[in-house]
């Protein structure tokens, strides 16, 4: 008896079933078999099987629509998709606006939802009056207007920007119940377009004695950070555009320093001055703030790199499961070292793992969306993701990270930064009723 194509498909599906514990399905399930077959093997139809209704034209399709606006805004039904603000009244302290990763998908962060940290509000900069000065250990100090920079050969690249304090609540000795936005909302990803910093430094003529630059913003605290000259001459950029339009005020309008893969605070917003030096400035933010304390009391200096990290955005706390059946697990992975090579997902707290599908193309030092099909049988499960980058660096477990970097002695404030550079695994517990909780596993 000859095997029919249908038999072969069934055989294939058998092989694909449950590649890891608690119902994780093969990452190529959809690519090979399509949604209908996925539904068939999960035993759960993707289309709700409510009784069919007779269709009638909807009211909005029977009258002319609203006039097209000159600058688009999202649907009125999407008003809940907002950043959370740590200091909404602008009191005299730092303001944080966190990206709602659980309400977004894909790899770009919309400009209005890109995370922002402003130490004294966003300056209202007139682009025609803004200047960028390069001086110090150079042959010829130079000043650039925005108009002048706009005439230089430009480059575009995807890049995530992440605060060194992102994910810091996971240093807490007990898991803090909060959304992925509250825990991991200080990272975002955009396409940045601008002028390679090396072009401008070359034009000024860098002295052979130079080893660092000190970049300074035109914001009220004139935030300044030191950057090794090697990075400045490598992939640093004076960025003028964010996702195709001019940079948002909170992200540095009209220009910012972009250091792909390096600590957010170093990516000087509203950059107005770059001094080329033979030593780091030991500015407030590098000497004090972004010097994470280690167990025993010593502290790291110059922890520049944002190392490989991943977390699951769907499902995540606040997105309750709607009954057993089929779900797509999805999340974000990125590394300041380069491209994401692999993401593994576990549904049983790290006992067994299945490889997730990576959304192509995978960009260096940018968000990579990972996805994996999952058949939830309604029983408790613990979801984790773990990423590897192209240099072979493996995202640590929380136990590994805490062994090296410590944890707090009491539960810290959610908005506080008890330490920095947490890049270990995040665990979501799926409770029997479908609630999603933050746990350590």
């Amino acid at each position: 008896m000859t095997r029919t194509p249908s038999d072969r498909a069934k055989q294939k599906l058998k092989n694909l079933e449950a590649v890891a514990g608690n119902g994780l399905l093969h990452r190529r399930l959809f690519l090979r078999g399509g949604a209908a077959l996925a539904g068939a093997i999960t035993g759960y139809a993707l289309v709700p099987s409510a009784p069919a209704q007779q269709l009638a034209d909807d009211e909005w399709s029977l009258v002319p629509g609203v006039t097209v606006p000159d600058y688009g805004t999202r649907s009125r039904f999407e008003k809940n998709v907002v950043r959370t603000l740590s200091n909404p009244k602008g009191e005299p302290r730092t303001q944080h606006a966190r990206t709602p990763h659980h309400l977004l998908n894909g790899t770009f962060t919309p400009n209005s939802l890109h995370f922002v940290i402003s130490h004294a509000g966003d300056p209202d900069i007139d682009p025609d009056k803004h200047r960028l000065v390069i001086h110090g250990l150079v042959k010829q100090p130079l000043v650039f207007t925005l108009d002048a920079l706009a005439r230089y050969p430009m480059v575009s690249r995807m890049a995530f920007v992440e605060c060194g304090g992102n994910s810091a609540p996971l240093f807490s000795l007990e898991p803090i119940q909060a959304s992925v936005q509250a825990l991991h909302g200080l990272v975002s990803c955009a396409e940045w377009t601008g002028v390679p910093l090396s072009s401008l430094l070359d034009e000024a003529g860098v002295d052979p004695k130079a080893k660092w630059i000190v970049a300074e913003g035109g914001d009220p605290p004139h935030v300044s950070r030191s950057v090794p000259l090697t990075k400045a001459m490598d992939d640093a950029m004076i960025a003028l555009y964010q996702n195709g339009e001019r940079i948002m005020p909170g992200n540095g309008y009209p220009m910012r320093l972009l250091l792909p893969g390096w600590e957010g605070n170093m990516n000087t917003k509203w950059v107005r001055r770059i001094q080329v030096t033979d030593q780091p400035g030991m500015t407030f933010y590098e000497a004090r703030t972004y010097a994470p304390v280690l167990p025993g009391g010593k502290a790291y200096r110059f922890y520049f790199l944002q190392e490989v990290k991943s977390f699951i955005t769907h499902p995540s706390p606040g997105l309750a499961m709607k009954g057993p059946g089929f779900y797509e697990i999805s999340g974000i992975a990125y590394s300041g070292n380069g491209r994401i090579a692999k993401v593994m997902v576990s549904a049983d707290g790290g006992k067994t793992w299945a490889q997730a599908e990576l959304q192509q193309p995978v960009h260096s030092k940018a968000f990579t969306r990972f996805r994996l099909a999952w058949r939830w049988d309604g029983s408790p499960a613990v979801l984790q993701s773990r990423a590897w980058d192209e240099t072979g660096y493996q995202q640590p477990t929380r136990a590994q990270l805490v062994a090296a970097r410590g944890e707090t002695t009491k539960v810290p404030a959610l908005n506080g930064f008890p330490s920095q550079h947490y890049n270990a695994i995040t665990s979501w517990s799926i409770e029997r009723g479908g609630e999603v909780k933050h746990v350590y596993a």
């Binding site: 005299p92 302290r93 130490h119 004294a120 000065v133 001086h135 010829q140 100090p141 130079l142 000043v143 650039f144 002048a148 920079l149 005439r151 230089y152 401008l200 034009e203 000190v214 300074e216 009220p220 605290p221 004139h222 935030v223 300044s224 090794p228 090697t230 107005r272 001094q275 030096t277 030593q279 780091p280 400035g281 030991m282 500015t283 407030f284 000497a287 004090r288 010097a291 304390v293 280690l294 167990p295 009391g297 010593k298 502290a299 790291y300 200096r301 110059f302 922890y303 520049f304 790199l305 070292n337 240099t391 970097r405 410590g406 944890e407 707090t408 002695t409 810290p412 008890p418 330490s419």
Partner: protein, 174 residues
Amino acid sequence: MYTRRFAVAIAVVLGATVAFAQAPNLGKPISPADIAGWDINVLPDGSGLPPGSGTPSEGARIYAAKCSACHGPEGKGGVNARLVGGEPIKTIEGEKTIANFWPFSTTLFDYIRRAMPWTKPRSLTNEEVYALTAYIFSLNKLIGESDTMNAQTLPKVRMPNRDGFIVRFPDRTP
């Protein structure tokens, strides 16, 4: 003579053409005098410190008028960070203070001058910044009550946590 002058002229023209092809060269030269209003970085070796000086007692008067609303009387803390004291840091979330954490004395001058007071940054004179720096160091017993801070003395103030760091770049960062 004519030939030589002609050759020089050719070289100048060629040089200009090559330079133009390499870079737009749209940055305008600017003199140190014109940069001076923005040239506020102070490096750990003291370079960048301006002329002038200040003492703790002068700083105390300025502090009471312009700083205490946020940082409390005598630097004891208010709605914003305290500027005096600080136990040795034992845990990762330990409070970082000037006395228990900041490794370089120059950072204080640099930060006050660029960022403070929060509501009116860049409004202090260099003399006032020296005086405030002297006052805060004096409160922390890092200098004497009548010591003067200036471009020579300030970089020599030894901070207690000067060696409390493990440098990750360039040794540990790719």
